[in-house]
């Protein structure tokens, strides 16, 4: 009896250790897994990533870029925009216009050399058009 229980426990660990997620991936097509891979990218922000790629292509390392997007809240909304911009625009100093407490930081807009405006009205502080595309504009002071 003890030996049977021992073997049962041993095999139970083997069975319970199976992780379905990676194991069954080969049986799904990439298209079916797309929602998993895109779960952090909200559908309404689809054009935002190509826009950031365009901003990266039109800015240099070390420049300061503020990010202006149409969202009144940090989470969800501005956090996504800011974190994504920080990653894509690595090498530039990316400045947020809002903090996690939802407070506006207009000093960052005034201090930035450039502002990346996506689907929002451009500010008066930056008026020289550097580039536009994918629903946004890149403006220099």
């Amino acid at each position: 009896m003890r030996r049977a229980l021992t073997l049962a426990a041993f095999l139970a660990i083997v069975a319970a250790s199976i992780k379905p997620m990676p194991l069954f991936v080969p049986f799904y097509g990439r298209a079916r897994l797309e929602p998993l891979f895109k779960r952090y990218d909200p559908p309404q922000w689809r054009e935002y990533l190509p826009f950031l790629d365009g901003v990266r292509a039109h800015t240099r390392g070390g420049e300061t870029v503020a990010v202006l997007v149409p969202t009144p809240r940090w989470d969800p909304g501005y956090a996504y925009a800011y974190y994504r911009a920080s990653y894509v625009l690595a090498g530039r100093e990316v400045l947020p216009l809002m903090d996690p407490e939802g407070r506006a930081h207009l000093e960052n807009l005034l201090g930035a050399e450039l502002v990346a405006v996506w689907n929002a009205p451009p500010p008066r502080t930056h008026q020289k058009l550097v580039w536009s595309g994918h629903g946004g504009v890149l403006l220099r002071r």
Partner: protein
């Protein structure tokens, strides 16, 4: 993809002299698994040293730094004389299924995890642009979301891959996670083969091939599971068999775990306390772990990089969360990763008396879990959110060595009873 594969190959080749310097009798599976882990550690120290010396990272500068680091250990290549080998079993083939499936999962698209482009990948990319650690970036109050205090082994591995690639690309970085998972599997399988029959060891390998995988590709968990799991398993072996090489591996791997995530630092403490209880005299043999962890801890203190969990009034937060203890524990139970695996381990623990022989692994795991739970009571974040977004990963980290220990004991008892009959 070629660059990612060359990166893994480079890490492996680079790691071999280190493994042999520590353990010239390393059998092939152990040698190969540890080579990947030590190679990644060597790259971490090469990039860290160049940063501290203000030498810009290029493939040439990193290669020279690595050669300087590895050169004292090259002599070990000529002294390798492993007479040991691991007896394999046909069931070992099953242990390849999950890593193969995982390699498809991890490399199907560019890394997609939120924490990759907000923490691990972001730092790597910023540092690559600068050619070294960007302290101004880490110190900026706007970048607190990147957790500036987190250790840098994983971002540096990404940077090495980018240098090999000739520029940043997140498309194939998932290959690194496959390499770390397979490295852990090889180490665990070799260690299991020393204690139980080839069939039982192969089944332990099957479990390790799955438990050692982090589905959170892009986050540091994949590397941490390998370092932390292998480190605990080597210390376990060292204590059980008074194996000097295992002591060295255990301490080095735990040190590298501390260079991977803060949980690695906690694990050094948990292991030290567990050893103190099991055999206090031997705790000093962990000194390489502390020495390896120290440089980053010093650098982050010098740069005053804040850690969100310990900032502000700890006492106030703990007192506030204490009233939510019931809710916290309910959430922990509900969010545990692979609850059936934990239930099966508990079942095994009840079936066979193992508290004596395996008390080191049990204690180390227990202390580590207590540290994690203590952090939830001290968190400045919404505790429910904190648990939901991290407990799954934390339980994932500590499960492999515990599952290993329970399975070995079950197999030993089953085999002993077979012999008696």
């Amino acid at each position: 993809m070629a660059a990612a594969l060359i990166t893994v190959l480079s890490l492996t080749v680079l790691g071999i002299p280190f493994v042999l310097a520590v353990d010239r009798d390393a059998p092939p599976l152990r040698l190969l698994g540890l080579a990947v882990l030590y190679g990644t550690g060597a790259i971490y120290f090469a990039l860290l040293a160049l940063s501290v010396l203000h030498v810009k990272w290029t493939l040439l500068s990193v290669t020279i730094a690595v050669l300087l680091i590895v050169s004292p250990f090259l002599r070990s290549l000529s002294t390798q004389h492993s007479a040991l080998s691991t007896r394999l079993h046909v069931v070992d083939i099953l242990a390849l299924i999950t890593p193969i499936a995982f390699s498809i999962y991890a490399t199907m698209v560019a890394i997609w995890q939120w924490d990759f482009w907000a923490i691990w990948g972001l730092k790597a990319r910023v540092f690559l642009e600068r050619g070294g650690i960007d302290w101004r970036f880490l110190e900026s109050r706007w970048n607190l979301f990147t957790h500036p205090d987190y250790p840098l082994l994983v971002p540096f591995a990404y940077d090495f891959a980018a240098l090999v690639n000739g520029g940043w690309s997140d498309r194939w970085l998932g290959v690194l996670f496959v390499a770390w998972a397979v490295a852990f599997l090889l180490v665990a399988r070799e260690l299991a083969g020393r204690e139980v029959s080839p069939l039982a060891a192969a089944l332990v390998g099957v479990v390790m091939s799955s438990a050692g995988i982090s589905i959170f590709v892009g986050l540091a968990e994949g590397a941490l599971i390998a370092y932390l799991g292998a480190g605990v398993l080597f210390v376990r072996r060292a204590l059980l068999f008074d194996d000097a090489a295992a002591w060295r591996h255990g301490a080095i791997l735990l040190g590298l775990a501390a260079c991977t995530k803060n949980e690695g630092v906690a694990m050094i403490a948990s292991v030290a306390i567990a050893i103190s209880i099991v055999d206090a005299r031997r705790v000093v043999r962990l000194w390489p772990a502390a020495a390896i962890a120290l440089p980053w801890l010093v650098l982050r203190a010098l740069h005053r990089l804040p850690s969100d969990v310990v900032s502000g009034s700890l006492v106030e937060r703990v007192a506030a969360h204490a009233s939510e203890a019931g809710t916290i524990f309910k959430l922990l139970v509900r969010s545990s990763y692979q609850p059936w695996l934990w239930a099966a381990m508990l079942f095994g623990f009840l079936v066979v008396p193992m508290a004596s022989r395996e008390r080191f692994v049990l204690l180390a795991t227990l202390f580590q879990l207590l540290v994690y739970i203590a952090v939830y009571f001290a968190t400045p974040h919404d505790v429910a959110w904190h648990i939901r977004t991290s407990w799954t990963r934390l339980t994932l980290q500590v499960a492999p060595p515990l599952a290993f220990a329970v399975m070995i004991e079950l197999a030993r008892h089953a085999e002993a009873r077979s012999e008696q009959q």
